[in-house]
């Protein structure tokens, strides 16, 4: 079994091929472009909130399979969640990528987002997986403990 298959799992490949919520929201309450100059990935996240609930979220752009799949799965995971839940999820996701949260041992609510745990072994790819999330929390202007550099 090739080493990299840990990263390129079927679910991730599927989201890369058929990204969900890959569209623009016409009247978003929040928008934020994310750009990784190192690899040229561009992802723009659109959000519509009602009260403190994310009622709709989508993205557009181009990038590698990891950044696209991560954005696609992120939109599915945060839709319908409150801002506090989104913030918590971001912190857990980020913790997983940084190797601070062990998805097999520690408590978390990442669900299938935990498929991205393999990314932590590829330091150059962590930014790919995190790109859309940074755009999301940037758009919502959620104050988190984590610096986005």
């Amino acid at each position: 079994m090739a080493y990299s298959n840990e990263l390129y799992q079927q679910v991730i490949l599927d989201h890369n091929r058929k990204p969900r919520n890959f569209r623009k929201i016409e009247e978003p309450t929040h928008v934020c472009p994310g750009h990784n100059p190192l690899c040229g990935d561009h992802i723009t996240v659109y959000i519509h909130t009602e009260g403190d609930v994310v009622s709709d979220v989508s993205f557009e752009g181009s990038g590698c399979a990891i950044s696209k799949a991560s954005a696609s799965m992120m939109t599915e995971s945060v839709k319908g969640k409150t801002l506090a839940e989104v913030k918590k999820m971001f912190e857990e996701f980020h913790g997983m990528l940084m190797g601070e949260l062990d998805v097999d041992q520690d408590q978390h609510k990442l669900g299938k987002l935990s498929l991205f745990q393999g990314v932590k072994q590829y330091s150059s790819r962590v930014k790919c997986a995190a790109l859309s999330w940074h755009a999301l929390v940037g758009a919502l202007d959620l104050k988190t403990e984590i610096s986005t550099e």
Binding site: C64, I66, S124
Partner: protein, 406 residues
Amino acid sequence: MSTLSIEQIKESFPVLQQQVHGKDLVYMDNAATTQKPQVVLDCLNNFYCKDYATVHRGAYLLSEKATSLFEAVRGKVAQFINAQKEKEIIYVKGTTEAINLVANSWGRKNLKEGDEVLISAMEHHANIVPWQMVCEDVGAVLKVIPMDDKGELIMEEFYALLSERTKFVSVVHVSNALGTINPVKEICQAAKSVGAVSLVDGAQSTAHMKVDVQDMGCDFFAFSSHKIYGPSGAGALYGRYELLKAMPPWQGGGDMIYTVSFEKTEYADPPARFEAGTPAITEIIGMGAAIDYLSSLGMDFVAEKEDELLRYGTAALKEIEGLRLIGEASKKAGVLSFVLDKAHPHDIATIVDGEGVSIRAGHHCAQPVMTRFNIPATARASLAIYNTKKDIDALVRALRIVNDIF
């Protein structure tokens, strides 16, 4: 001319004798940096163990030995690139520093408002940004020679851009992103005909083909030791002595002066004028060992072997479904830049790494090249003298796995 086989050459590079991810390491990021042969490693170790001391200063035996080893490299570099005089060789940290030296010293002294500096569309950022900075400060204009879809400079456009306003022409010898070998002799000659001064960025050519600065007719030529099998942190700038002599220093400090008082400092002659501070002593000496190594192989042998491998690799990659080569100039050196229909360059690099193959993905510090081809990035396999056909076969196998995964 060497009679060694490529397999024998590969054996003299210790780092290549290992496995990564359980597979034999195939290293093909040589345009970024090259691995070091045992003779270079031995030279560094010997120098540190036996002769290490400061240079140019010590009135003791050790320093005299170090100085003579250090200074001997100047002659090696001069001979290697066929400079007329040893004193035309300035030690630098690498190509980037060499170009910054010329832009800041020659450029700030000679460029005036309305003057034009000509570079090409396939420059590394190291041959763009220093000129932008100087041009902006003095009010000069930076102009760009365009290229065609094959990745060749459009020479008619070059001649159309060239005028008596052109004061400096700075072009890359071999493109790190595309592999194109540019007609630098023709470009330098044309520059001279309008009275412009020329620089050739030899970062990607020096390890792969015979360089003759006098035949090329360039005024300046720059290269980095770490791309020619030597240590990082060293490199050389060649400059025609007449030009160097008229240039002001760009960094002040020790070693670059003749006399200093608080009223006035008299600068040393080149090359010392441009070598302020304690240099990368060991690395420069290691660069000399790398030059000896390349000379022992023979640059004609190196160029021929790499060309053979490039042609083998080009044909092999073209067989891969959905692969598009970026850069198909008729004259190319060992760079295979490509994109795949189904996979992004970063995914390609990660997956082939899992198969033991180290290649680069990204813009290769040549973002304007990516913009020109309307792509965010490429995957790039770049060749060196230790790469074999088996290495290419491993890359091809790994790329088929990429296609299977996506």
